[in-house]
Amino acid sequence: MPVSPGTDGGAGGPALPEPVLQANGITVDLGGRSVLTSVDLTLGRGEVVAVLGANGSGKSTLVRAVIGLVPRRAGSVELFGTPLERFRDRARLGYVPQRSTGSTGVPATVREVVLSGRLARRRFLGPASRADKAAADRAIELVGLTPLRGRPVTELSGGQHQRTLIARALASEPELLVMDEPLAGVDAASGHQLARTVGDLVASGTAVLLVEHDLGPLTDVVDRAVVIDHGRVAYDGPAHGAPTEHVHHHPHDGEPARLQPLPGEGVL
Amino acid sequence: GDGSGDDGPTVVTSAYPFQFLVERVAGDYYAVENLTRPGAEAHDLELSPRQVADVQGADLVVYVEHFQAALDEAVEQADREDDTTVDLATVVDLLEADEESHEGHDHGDEEEGHKDHDHGGVDPHFWLDPHRMELAARAIGESLAEIDPDHADDYTANAEELVTELQTLDADFTVGLQNCELRTIVTAHSAFGYLADAYDLTQIPIAGLEPSAEPSSAQLAEISDLVTSAGVTTVFTEELVDPRVAETVANATGATTAILDPIEGLSEATADEDYLSLMRNNLDAIREANRCQ
């Protein structure tokens, strides 16, 4: 149920509803290497956009750049109409990182980690409110970890850990949910459950930006696909037309991909 | 330490030489509690609660202020009466820490900084000068007489007897060190400033007041040159200090090493000695090293 037009949201005319995410000309260097070059990305309310592309094409870097985790060399990002630099209303943002990052010296339970997803919504002082706890428990329920909520995250299986991170992002009840390979290591049942959850969120107006290699159960909820190749947008259009199986470079060469991007249109 | 201090009159001292003095002057009237000398390691300058209680409960405390931080704090905290606390620093005249011996170290302009804190800059090893020990013995006698007037005469007599022995020691040093081929002693750390001052010797310390400080290479080279040019043939080391610094200088100059005891405490090897016998050992060692007649 996309609200804004799929292919060129925000660029069409001033009368359209303000896009949730508007990124223009994003250019990122990592370790002295040019990783993204002039990438544009727009996301409307209730839209689900999948970022596709080969390993190392720059998908994670792109989503990290639009939420401010990676510094840009050039380009601008607006979230809900506010430039990223001045964007304070962080509760509207949820993020699921690729692979887990948080291994720390003190144990923390699933519930504690998920509750930390409420951070941006909590009043500054005092313990978590009832609403916070309820939202966290609801998120845990959604990923099916309720029986494990008192378990330290270090004692989870890979997929359980991944689902904990999904729950943490859901707990903040975001209007823009950014997920970097959320299905990696997650079993089929949980994948379908996630697809249902994303469907419900979208119905309530949440926009979703996700990175995946294989959309699997999420295929049906995705409105639009953006294919990244060598740090550039190679395709931006309807999901069913995305050249997922074809944009990849031969593993042995160092040259740019040979497939010519066909912006705005599927090649399959 | 038994803590309470009620089970008999006690005197607390902060170092072995003071313990020696009090034991001689107080005779059997007071038990002497010598606080274990805290080591130089930063973390362990700490007294046990019993020792703090001893400091509070003791009839008399004999120490040198600004020498052991932990003890200073305990004394300050105990809030003792003035006449039951003997700071020997006020009795004898303490020398500034000797800086000249390290030529090439000029701290002239930096001195200002230290003026507000009188902690540094003072050399506590006054007990190596028998004459200053006489003053300390008399002061202890007077204090004991004041807090225990019943036995005042005994304390005075004991103090005078000790002073006589110290005078003899002083005389022996004066005579023993009169005719020497050399008037320079090279020591492991600069503990012997008072001794050198009293008997017209020049001390070349390899390390500063803290025996654990690492010497600089240029300083070692400089001392080696000094040793060679002064014709020194013996480099002194200490029982409780690693001899390697002294040995390095000795090796570099072809000198030999011998032991000079700063008498900061008794070790296992010197358990049977006392202050007087240790001082005489030191005298013999210097006479031999400096080839005195």
Binding site: R90, V106, T109, L119 | S48, G208, A213, E214
Partner: protein, 280 residues
């Protein structure tokens, strides 16, 4: 045992023990979470340089020590962020830099700085009432910040990226933790001793981890164990006539050993064995 309360210094020591025992693990838990368990000791080394600098320049050494310690804590955050160094390496550089710098400066400052340790190292049985006030104010401050900002601090230590996305000024909180730790250590080392405060930041947390499974549980249990070790250590040091600092530390280590043992026995005898597997 009540005999020890006859001595005013023991009453002061117990009060200082209560404050330190509670404050040190309260902030220390976050250090352990960030894998900076040895920050306390590192700060101590840098404070030494600060004292030497103070002596050289004629500034109050305690002030320069606090400044140096705070700068050191900032340096660690910067090294972690901008140079390719992990926390332990950044700490090591602070250690050795602080120590080498201190030793060199002392050398320049001359013999008069030899007693510089006395600026730095206090002992819990020689705490004065004005010391106690300082420690209490500082402890209250640290506890207040920790209580107020636990969710933020937890998030920052748990997953920096996520905290950043949640709008937490990550670097600011990282610096807050480091500076709180630095100030606590510098002030406390002067009143109750470095060994005591830096050990109480880590050992009770390690002990609590043995049996606790949640962050909150670990945090609270660590504070409780810190309190018990501090008070128990002061009492024990009085009874068995030892220095209170090491006694407290050894008591905390004993807690660790006991709890690790409990955990080992429970795991081995399989008290939980056969318990139905929770599904997920």
């Amino acid at each position: 045992m009540l005999e020890l309360l006859d001595y005013p210094f023991m009453r002061l020591a117990l009060a200082a023990a209560v404050i330190t025992g509670v404050t040190a693990p309260a902030i220390g838990t976050f250090l352990v979470q960030r894998r900076l368990a040895l920050l306390g000791d590192g700060i101590g080394h840098v404070a030494l340089t600060g004292v030497a600098l103070g002596l050289l320049t004629g500034t109050a050494p305690l002030l320069t020590a606090v400044v140096a310690a705070t700068l050191g804590a900032l340096a660690i955050e910067l090294l972690r962020t901008y140079a390719r160094t992990s926390g332990d390496v950044a700490l090591a550089m602070l250690f050795y830099g602080g120590l080498a710098g201190g030793v060199m400066l002392i050398n320049f400052a001359g013999d008069s700085a030899a007693k510089l340790n006395s600026y730095l190292f206090g002992s819990i049985v020689t705490v004065t009432s004005s010391d106690l006030i300082t420690v209490a104010i500082l402890g209250g401050l640290v506890l207040a910040v920790v209580l107020a900002a636990t969710p933020q601090l937890f998030a920052v230590c748990q997953d920096e990226d996520h905290a950043r996305v949640s709008g937490v000024p990550v670097r600011l909180y990282g610096i807050l933790i480091a500076v709180l730790a630095a100030v606590t250590i510098t002030v406390a080392m002067r009143t109750v001793g470095l060994l005591l405060v830096s050990a109480l930041m880590v050992v009770p947390v390690a002990a609590a981890q043995q049996v606790s499974r949640s962050f909150r549980g670990t945090h609270l249990l660590a504070i409780l164990l810190g309190l018990l070790a501090a008070v128990g250590g002061v009492v024990a040091s009085f009874e068995i006539d030892t220095q209170p600092g090491p006694t407290i530390v050894l008591m905390a280590l004993a807690f660790f050993a006991v709890l690790a043992g409990v955990r080992g026995v429970v795991a081995l005898t399989g008290r939980w064995r056969g318990r139905p597997l929770e599904s997920g």
